[in-house]
């Protein structure tokens, strides 16, 4: 039970997505999940052990680390991946509900339970809005927690029990910063994909509605 579960979940969602939705799933798999598991996790593995302060006072390093990293970047990244993938489940639930209804009434109620129309369109749009919202929330959280997306080499700490202002050195700051920028870039790409999909669906169904009404008026 690990990221494979999320991968299976998203593969299931893929069936009911539009073309842009499938590109989104591919971006999340390749550029976010795979990069996280294969590269990013190892960079942050020993962040606490390799965080060194210029002091022998016991407890000073612990306290300074906790002050400068309230929640680790890698944990926020993992939470972001999980939260951003979850709204797609709404669509899966809705399709399952439609199929259940058809079984219950023993007749064909929908032309195709997996086709994005009517109520399923609303659910799909809501899931897109939620995905985009959560991406933005996490980006803002990253920005606010760490004063931007920069990781300094040196931080100055003067919290008890550190006796004075102490120099503390963060491990692999450049590598962490590169991956952080990568995370921001892929998040922005996913936001752009979600917004394009949203606009595409709204545009497509508005045109459909307009044409239907136009045909009715002509008749």
């Amino acid at each position: 039970m690990s990221w494979a579960f999320l991968r299976d979940l998203l593969s299931g969602v893929n069936k009911y997505s539009t073309g842009i939705g499938r590109i989104w799933v591919a971006v999340v798999f390749m550029f976010r999940l795979l990069v996280y598991v294969a590269a990013a996790e190892n960079i942050w593995k020993h962040e606490h052990d390799e965080f060194e302060c210029n002091i022998k006072q016991p407890g000073c390093e612990n306290v300074c680390f906790d002050h400068f990293f309230p929640v680790s970047h890698i944990r926020l990244w993992a939470l972001q991946l999980i939260m951003v993938s979850t709204p797609s489940l709404l669509v899966v639930f809705h399709v399952a509900y439609r199929e259940n209804r058809e079984k219950h009434h023993n007749q064909k109620l929908y032309r195709n339970p997996g086709k994005i129309d009517g109520g399923l369109l609303c659910t799909y749009l809501i899931s897109l809005i939620l995905k985009t919202g959560l991406e933005i929330v996490f980006l803002v959280l990253f920005y606010k927690l760490y004063n931007g997306f920069k990781i300094p080499r040196l931080v100055k700490c003067d919290i008890k029990p550190c006796p004075n202002t102490v120099d503390c050195y963060i491990s692999k700051p450049t590598e962490k910063m590169i991956f952080l920028y990568f995370l921001v870039a892929t998040s922005c790409l996913c936001i752009v994909l979600n917004l394009s999909e949203l606009s595409y669906l709204i545009f497509k169904y508005s045109i459909k509605c307009y044409l239907k009404r136009h045909m009715k008026k002509q008749q």
């Binding site: 039970m1 052990d49 612990n62 680390f65 906790d66 680790s72 029990p161």
Partner: protein
């Protein structure tokens, strides 16, 4: 044998659950088990190693760590998830027993609706209703018990940065520093919130089942 086994077992129970039960299962898998495995275990990974005490006395750090963390949060969560998932097995066993009985009666020559036997969904009525409702009741009890155990053992849900320890062999009162207290507090509150949501879902499912059966009884009598 790992969390995947639990996933396989509970996945089987999913077919016979109500819609709220299916939502509960999803929340359990994604927001509890997955978060535990991919994030929380890493946060608590170095908890003893990075538990630092302001003393050179050998053994003092060990004794203080053991005094303040009798059972690690991670282990308590793992136990909580196992206990909370187990009542669903009652339902799985009951369904298996019902199917077994039907097959036995079919083999003995009784006329059984083959369609229903082949059809995998078994409706929640009669004795199965009681089993299902008891399983939800036990789930709620286990959740509440574990939430209380956490509160009682750790004096609330906040992880302190500094603990003062004077257990033997520490010479005097010694300052000990916990590693990553803020991150641990964040995850503790997150897991608490999700436990609360799961409890609400279970209560809602319980009310739904009770109301459904009451309405059925009312329709029968009128």
């Amino acid at each position: 044998m790992d969390w995947g086994t639990l996933q396989a077992v509970l996945g089987g129970v999913n077919k016979h659950s109500t819609s709220i039960g299916k939502i509960w299962l999803t929340v359990l898998f994604i927001f509890r088990i997955m978060i535990l495995v991919v994030a929380a275990e890493r946060v608590w990974g170095d908890e003893q190693q990075d538990f630092v005490c302001n003393t050179l006395q050998p053994g003092c750090r060990n004794v203080c760590y053991d005094h303040f963390f009798p059972i690690s949060h991670i282990r308590l969560w793992a136990l909580q998830l196992i206990f909370v998932s187990t009542p669903a097995l009652l339902v799985a066993m009951h369904v298996a027993y019902t199917r077994h009985e039907k097959k036995r009666r079919f083999r003995n020559g009784e006329k059984i609706d083959i369609e229903e036997l082949k059809n995998e969904k078994i409706h929640i009525r009669g004795p199965l209703w009681w089993t299902y409702t008891s399983s939800i009741f036990f789930r709620i009890i286990f959740e509440a018990v574990f939430m209380y155990v956490f509160y009682y053992m750790y004096d609330g849900y906040q992880m302190p940065r500094l603990v003062k320890c004077d257990a033997w062999p520490c010479p005097n009162t010694v300052d000990c520093f916990v590693s990553r207290p803020t991150e641990k507090t964040t995850f503790t509150i997150f897991m608490l919130a999700v436990s609360g949501i799961c409890m609400m879902l279970n209560l809602a499912e319980l009310c739904y089942l009770v109301i459904k059966i009451c309405m059925k009884e009312c329709r029968k009598t009128t």
